[in-house]
């Protein structure tokens, strides 16, 4: 079973719909045991960082998520919450990726909204994806590029479009809203194995 972490954030159903289209069953849950025992965990979200962290802490998930051994995929706010310090609401993230999340400088339109192409693709998540393919982004904050980046994107500056560290994967864009390319990335995630 795939657990989709429920917290006070929107867009959780979109991920469930995308998995449904792939013929994969999933459950939206904030239950500690259900998440711990799930085959894979997806941590989606659109929302505000500090209130999201408060919810995760109250549900005991702040401690749980970084200890998970099965594959975990953070999406959008989920990716940002897996990092260290978030400029939004001065929130402290889960610290899985020891990088910071910053607000885009206002040199151009913010939020970065729409389809943009990926570059510097690496790792199993981006298998079969080429650099001219576009995915859908909606965000005002970004994760810095680092050794964890498995995809980068350029908007105002270069930022991390996807991250990986062992069994932890994350995307700033919305694979569940990114047409065929997004579907391929979700399928790639469904194929990866956790760590023992």
């Amino acid at each position: 079973m795939i657990a989709i972490i429920k917290y006070n954030a929107g867009n959780v159903e979109s991920v469930q719909n995308a998995l449904f289209r792939l013929g994969v069953e999933s459950k939206v849950t904030d239950d500690f045991e259900e998440i711990r025992n799930a085959e894979k965990v997806i941590f989606p979200g659109v929302g505000e960082a500090s209130s999201a962290m408060r919810y995760l802490r109250d549900a005991g998930l702040k401690q749980l998520i970084p200890t998970l051994r099965q594959p975990v995929l953070g999406i959008c706010l989920g990716q940002q919450l897996m990092c260290r310090n978030l400029e939004e609401g001065h929130a402290e993230g889960l610290g899985i990726f020891d990088i910071d999340v910053k607000l885009f400088p206002s040199d151009d339109i913010v939020p970065h909204m729409g389809w943009n192409n990926l570059k510097n693709l690496k790792g199993p998540l981006m298998e079969g994806v080429s650099e001219d393919e576009n995915v859908y982004f909606v965000h005002s904050y970004y994760c810095e590029n680092s050794k964890y980046s498995v995809a980068a994107c350029g908007y105002i500056l270069d930022f991390a479009a996807a991250l990986q560290k062992e069994n932890f994967f994350a995307t700033q864009f919305h694979p569940e809203k990114s047409g065929k390319t997004g579907t391929k990335i979700l399928e790639n995630f469904l194929k990866v194995q956790g760590i023992k």
Partner: protein, 251 residues
Amino acid sequence: MLKKRIIPCLDIKDGQTVKGVNFVNLTHAGDPVELAKKYEDQGADELVFLDITATVEERKTFVELVKKIARELSIPFTVGGGISAVEDVRKLLNAGADKISINSSAVKNPDLIQELSEEFGKQCIVVAIDTRRVQGKDRVHIKGGREATEWETLAWAKKVEELGAGELLLTSMDADGTKAGFDLRITKLIAETVNIPVIASGGAGTKEDFEAVFAQTKATGALAASIFHFGEVAIPELKQFLNQQNIAVRM
């Protein structure tokens, strides 16, 4: 590079697409889900669904339709029409809409924008602005363009940005239905002033009209309805053309 978005708009009444649809290879031309899938396959970047019904009963039908659309589509979509309360928005977002669009209700109660933005995040709050030139001034209109308001369009655009709108859907009532091209003047003015995405709407008739709006204004998306529904402009050809003109689009 961020791509310019091509956005077909579907008007919905009683769960069906209206304003006429003349697509080949559709079994049920009025079925919004089928039409939406068709547009997704053709390369539409986003879709907008406008509920043009008014009764509570029909509203329930619309929410059910949004659920069906959300299950089928793998591209983002916005829903709008008659939204005036936080609870309306919650229902539509929970049904799977990515964004909601408000228009008359925002003019009547500007605080609603802030309320929605704080509750659901600004990225999903689109403010639709219908503008028309009246005695040399751009005036915001409501109720489907029938009623003029006191707001000057530029001032209103700045105000809604400040209140937390995530995006503007700017329709020129002067251009709408003419097929003579987007209203470049007002689109340029608004898109250069605000720092949030602006979608141009009203007046598209040819591929060249899309090129003009993207080349000459800072609009990041362009919306049209009938020219897509009647196949006068096909999305694959449109994108091919824009690409050849060095307008960045998703191919």
